[in-house]
Symmetry: C2
Subunit: 202 residues, 2 copies
Amino acid sequence: MAKSKPSKTASAEEKIKEAARHVFTKKGYAATRTRDIAEEAGINLALLNYYFRSKEKLFGIVMEERMAQFFGLITPIVNDVNSTLDRKIELIVSYYVDMLLQNPDLPLFIMSELRHDSDLFRKFQVQNLIINSHLILQLKEKQPSIHPLHFVVSILGLTIFPFIAKPIIQSTDALNSQMFAAMMEERKKLVPKWAKAMIKVK
Amino acid sequence: MAKSKPSKTASAEEKIKEAARHVFTKKGYAATRTRDIAEEAGINLALLNYYFRSKEKLFGIVMEERMAQFFGLITPIVNDVNSTLDRKIELIVSYYVDMLLQNPDLPLFIMSELRHDSDLFRKFQVQNLIINSHLILQLKEKQPSIHPLHFVVSILGLTIFPFIAKPIIQSTDALNSQMFAAMMEERKKLVPKWAKAMIKVK
DNA sequence: GTCTATACAAAGATAGAC
DNA sequence: GTCTATCTTTGTATAGAC
C-alpha cells in the first residue's frame, strides 16, 4: 500500500522502498529529496545509498512497480476474447476506480514522469497492448465509422481524469474526500451506461 | 505563444519570461534550472535575477498567466445566461481543443504544479466559477437525478484527458502528431454529441 | 547493517566591472 | 542593462567508525 507508513517490522530495505514509493509518487522525481525518503523511512540517509546506490536507481525500481500497477490492470481485461464489449468496459471502470481510490496520486505521477522519460513505456509496450487488443476489434465492429481509439481514450478519460483533476475539484468546499469517493462509486455504474450510449451515436 | 523561440526584437525581460513560460511548462518547477531558462532566452543567468529576483518569483508570474489562460477560457462560456446547454458544450470543447493544440503541455503542467501549491486556485476561485455557474443550473434542470458535477468533469475529461495522455497515445507508432491533431478536431463534433446522449441516460 | 561526518556536485543568487 | 566571476545553499554520494 502506497499510503501506509512503513511498518516497524519491515526490513530497512523494504521500509526505504515503501517510503520512496510514497514520496516519489506524491512529489515526482525532481521535487523529491533523498533526505525526505530517508526521514519518512525512519532510517539514515547513508543507508539509502547503501541499498540502492543512487536516487535514480531507486526511482527506477519504484517507477517500474507503479507502471505495472497502472497498466497491468487493463491488459488481461482488454485481451479477454471471451468477454463482451459491455463487460470489458464494466470491468475496466470498476477495477480502475477501486485501485485509484487507494492510489489517487498514481495517474498524475505516471503521466508527469512519462513526459520526461519516454522510454519507460516502450518497455511496457502499452501501445500494442491496447492497439491490437480484442477490445479494439469489438469497438470497430460495433461502430465502424469512428476510430476505436476515440472510445478507448474516452472511457479511460471518464474514469481516470477525475483523479487527475481531484486537487481542483476538491478545492471546492462543496466536495470533501468522502463525497469524491462516493462520486467515483457512482461512476462505476454511470461510465458503462454512458459508453454504451456514446458508441451508438453516429 | 508558448512554443515559439524568443524573438530577436523582444526586450530581455520579455525574452526571459517567454523562455520561462516554455521551460517551466514543459518540465515543471522542480525540474527546471534557471540556467536552462537563461540559455533558452539567449541571455546571461545574472540577468534573470536582475529582472525577477528569484526562480520562485519568476515562476509565480508564469503560473498566474497560465492559470488565466487555462481557466479564463471557460468562465464566460459557462456563465452566459443567454446560450443553451448544447451551445455551451460546443463552445467549451471547441475552444479548449484549439487552445490546447497550441499548448499541449498546459493541462499536465497546471495539474502537476497545483498538486503542490494548492493556494493558487483559491486565488482564481475556480470552485465558485464552476459550481455556481449557469451551466450547472442547466444541467440540473435537464437531468435532475444525476449530480451536475458528473457532467462537468466528464465533458472536461473527454476534452482535456487526451492531451494529458498524449505521451502515451503517441508512443504508439500508429499515431503521429498530425493524426493526433486530426482526432482532436473530430472530437469537436463528437464530444458534444456524446454529451447530449450521456445527459439523456437515466 | 547502521550510523556520523564529510566530500563533491549542482543549482540559485549576488558582487562588481563594464 | 548586461556580463564574468564567485559565493552560498542544497542535495547526492561516500568514507570510515561502530
